[in-house]
């Protein structure tokens, strides 16, 4: 199974790459398992995932939860909480 991984913002900087195509073993079937497998490969990836509470995931450009299944050909993006819009806080 090959999946495309994307990293954004400081996850990209910490992982040292913007994207990569990977072929995880057959027992990697969910987002959480994929994340653990990537972190174990090291080379900075583990730093991107250092704080699990800050990891957001999209599969094929849809937000998903950690138990979401992974299929061959999926585009899996990892990124920190988003900070778009105007500079000020929404309640400001």
């Amino acid at each position: 199974m090959t999946v495309r991984i994307l990293y954004f913002a400081y996850f990209r900087e910490r992982a040292g790459r913007a994207s990569e195509d990977v072929s995880p073993p057959g027992d990697v079937t969910t987002v959480a398992q994929l994340m653990a497998w990537l972190a174990a490969r090291g080379e900075g990836r583990e730093k991107a995932f250092a704080d699990a509470a800050l990891v957001r995931v999209a599969v094929n450009q849809n937000y998903v939860k950690m138990d979401h299944p992974i299929k061959p050909g999926d585009e899996v993006a990892f990124f920190p909480p988003v900070t778009g819009g105007a500079t000020g806080g929404g309640a400001a």
Binding site: L6, F8, A9, Y10, A58, Q61, N62, Y63, A77, F79, P80, P81, V82, T83, G84, G85, A86, T87, G88, G89, G90, A91, A92
Partner: protein, 161 residues
């Protein structure tokens, strides 16, 4: 309509075109977001200067996600038209970042949906700000106040994410 672009936009021109020719529109509400040259320094109430920022996004998902938010607004309010323009790339203090415009027969729907769109956009659209500070580039943390602003609208969420 949704546009994600590097270039600036002209608010007057955009509004002149927006909803033009649709006489069912009784009111247009607009929000324009700008880059401030100061930001919170993490201590309550204190600020620090920011030179400029670079806005990174996830091409493809950005448009999809804003489209979803727009569809949600249209499902909640009787809107005649909506326009969201969001910029990316390097922006300096005073630059425009985002424009949200909503048009409806009545002002309540226009006001409420405009606020809904910007609140949800901030917490869902995949954009990240890298601020240039005297100490170097700093990724902006998500704000609890933004989550709270978005959560106000969460009661009637059908999809939820």
């Amino acid at each position: 309509m949704i546009r994600v672009q590097r270039e600036d936009f002209d608010v007057g021109q955009e509004l002149a075109r927006f909803g033009a020719g649709n006489a069912k529109i009784g009111g247009v509400c607009v929000f324009v977001g700008l880059v401030r040259d100061m930001t919170d320094d993490g201590n309550a109430g204190r600020t620090k200067p920011v030179g400029a920022m670079t806005l990174e996004h996830y091409p493809g998902m950005t448009e999809t996600e804003i489209g979803r938010i727009e569809a949600e607004a249209r499902a909640r309010w009787p809107l005649e038209d909506t326009l969201v323009i969001h910029r990316y790339g390097r922006l300096a203090g005073g630059d425009r970042i985002v424009l949200v415009a909503t048009a409806s027969a009545h002002r309540e729907a226009a006001f409420e949906s405009c606020r809904f769109l910007i609140d949800w956009l901030k917490t869902k659209a995949p954009f990240w700000k890298l601020e240039e500070t005297p100490q170097g580039g700093q990724w902006v943390d998500a704000r609890a106040s933004d989550d709270a602003a978005a959560a106000r609208w969460a009661k009637a969420v059908k999809s939820g994410s």
